[in-house]
Amino acid sequence: MADLKLTDVQKVYGGTVKVLSDINLDIKTGELIVFVGPSGCGKSTLLRMIAGLEKITGGTLEIDGQVVNDVPPSQRGIAMVFQSYALYPHMTVYENMAFSLRIAKADAATIDAKVRAAADKLQLTNFLDRLPKALSGGQRQRVAIGRSIVRDPKVYLFDEPLSNLDAALRVATRIEIAQLKEQMPDSTMVYVTHDQVEAMTLATRIVVLAGGGIAQVGTPLDLYERPNSTFVAQFIGSPAMNLLPGRITGTGDVTTLELDAGGGQITSTYPSRDSDMGAAVQVGIRPEDMTATEGDIFAFQGKVEITEALGEVTLLYFQKAAADQDAVIGKLAGIHQGLRGTTVRLTAKPEKVHVFRDGVSLLHRDAPVFLPGVQPH
């Protein structure tokens, strides 16, 4: 029902504090867009600008082709779910959900029908007469969602809706939101989260915000498999992708690499140009893509300092090659015992080896890439 278009959107606080700039984003009807990014990068600010709770200091925001920069929140056709639920404490669940309709002077029968339908959808029918303080966290969050559903908005905005819930409830509510989205294929949703799993499972596309701009936009697997910069590479996925300094020793459709410290030779399916020959690069390999090897083709060899056996996987933390480098982490499937203190050689399949030159992925060199200039973690 609603497309969202952000053009050169910018946010400056108090004339000097630039929080966001050059935000360009096209959101199609029915998408569920997830904003992720380090704390303080402006996710909430951007969401609140879409809601109309925060003034847009530059650029335009269009909803359904209409510029809404100066349209008040209630007329933008949006609904927002707050992290703290923001329920009206003095109203019952029913009144909370009915409030917007009453403000809009809908007739009693319509209000009743809509509230009951929403309550039904969210299993809140038994709680309609309760005050918010007599509800659990998960129920409160469902009321907050119900409050937006009754308004039948074009765009749903969620600001970390699950972060106040405990782990089990978070999973349950996440699945409920996914189902809700499925029931309402025409509604557009924008969702802010800190949680990688939420982002990966819910999003049709993820927007990585950092350093005041958009680092990358893409489907979850896009970002995972083809990050455009070392920033996104390390931000998406946990533990973060290992970045190993190295040099290009062979160019072409397949690139051959030699790693600097404790490293060997490895190939990547990333294509490279002749001019890349000998260039210093960063070789990125995700911990979960690493496999132990005895062979001569390997990415990295080092002494295992700590092991963490989680049952389904074993995490290996290697001794740092240099003090200013992050420790290399390997994630091996299954249980591996007795590796602590030993020297292990790791390799990865060529299609799992990412290559970055000056922080930019070799796959994304043709388009401009925004480098946030901050640490992902």
Binding site: A51, G52, L53, P72, P73, S74, Q75, I78, A79, M80, F82, S84, A86, L87, Y88, P89, H90, M91, F99, S100, I103, A104, R147, R151
Partner: protein
């Protein structure tokens, strides 16, 4: 000795005496009675801890009982034992109360008191609430707030004096009359002249004083309303009026009630304003002024009977007020 010197000495003795009391009594407790050593150290420490709070509240309890509790009982006693005439005394223990309730002036005073209780707390709380909300977002809001709060610092008698000037019949002195004259009225008008409406003119003074109190408390309460419930209401389409009356006010209702009852209690005790501004008119009489008049004429039984009536009227409001503010603290 100049007054200021006596004043300073009194303050020094008062504060110094209190400090000396706390210091010495704690030393006595820790060194002499329950020293934290010896074979009973554990028991001693426990007892000292149990007793120490009492050391601190003792002066307050002592002063309060001396100046509040004793007088209450003594008043009650007087009201059933002291009679203005033997004639009255023969009519039994509660003759004073019977006289009070059959006194037409008492009825006027009671009615006036009722009006005061009805108007002043409502007006002060409402205006205070509006002032709190309106000054909240202003750049010069704090200055405005200080101005509204300022009358709180003025004594009731001082405020009465100020307002006597405001109401003064001479347009050269009274600002109200000056305004009337500017708009074409001929000559000054006497505001407080024995009309029934006079009580209202007097109430204005107390409202003027109490609005600041209500504003400060309610302003703090308004700030405590979660910002996101307001934002949710904005998204829900509420306009500023609806946000104020449907979202903010209901959330601070407990505080509003506490402010309301606190002012009510104060109103039931107000004396100075009426005494200073309307003493010559019977029709503005309220219970405390009537009580004082009986006192002045030496009719102690009658006066204390009125005072007990006032206490009985205040008590339920008081209890409710304390309950409410406790509930709010939780």
């Amino acid at each position: 000795m100049p007054v200021i010197v006596t004043g300073a000495i009194t303050i020094l003795i008062g504060v110094g005496g209190m400090l000396a009391y706390f210091w010495l009594s704690n030393i006595l407790l820790d060194r002499v009675f329950f020293p934290a050593k010896g074979e009973n150290i554990g028991r001693n420490v426990r007892r000292a801890t149990a007793i120490r709070p009492w050391l601190f509240v003792f002066p307050a309890i002592f002063a309060l009982s001396l100046y509040l509790v004793v007088p209450v009982f003594y008043s009650a006693y007087l009201s059933v034992t002291s009679f203005a005439s033997d004639n009255l005394a023969e009519r039994g223990r509660f003759a004073n109360y019977a006289a009070v309730f059959s006194d037409p002036e008492f009825r006027i005073a009671l009615f006036n008191n009722f009006l005061w209780v009805l108007v002043v707390p409502a007006a002060s709380t409402f205006i205070g609430l509006l002032a709190a909300q309106l000054t909240d977002r202003l750049s010069w809001g704090n200055i405005a707030k200080s101005l509204v709060f300022m009358p709180m610092a003025i004594s009731f008698v001082g405020a009465s004096l100020i307002w006597s000037f405001v109401y003064h019949p001479d347009p050269e002195i009274g600002i109200l009359n000056a305004i009337r004259v500017t708009f074409g009225a001929e000559g000054g008008r006497t505001f407080i002249d024995g009309d029934v409406i006079d009580s209202l003119w007097l109430m204005v003074v107390l409202i003027w004083i109490q609005t600041g109190f209500a504003m400060v408390i309610l302003s703090a309460a308004l700030r405590g309303v979660p910002e996101d419930t307001i934002e949710a209401a904005i998204v829900d389409g509420a306009n500023p009026f609806q946000i104020f009356f449907k979202i903010k006010v209901p959330q601070i209702m407990p505080t509003i009630l506490v402010v309301w009852t606190t002012i009510t209690i104060l109103v039931l005790k107000v004396y100075d304003i009426v005494a200073a501004m309307g003493s010559q008119y019977r029709n503005v009489e309220i219970l405390p002024t009537q009580m004082m008049q009986s006192f002045d004429s030496g009719n102690y039984g009658f006066a204390t009977a009125i005072s007990i009536v006032i206490m009985v009227l205040v008590l339920p409001v008081m209890i409710w007020n304390i309950r409410q503010s406790r509930a709010e603290l939780r």
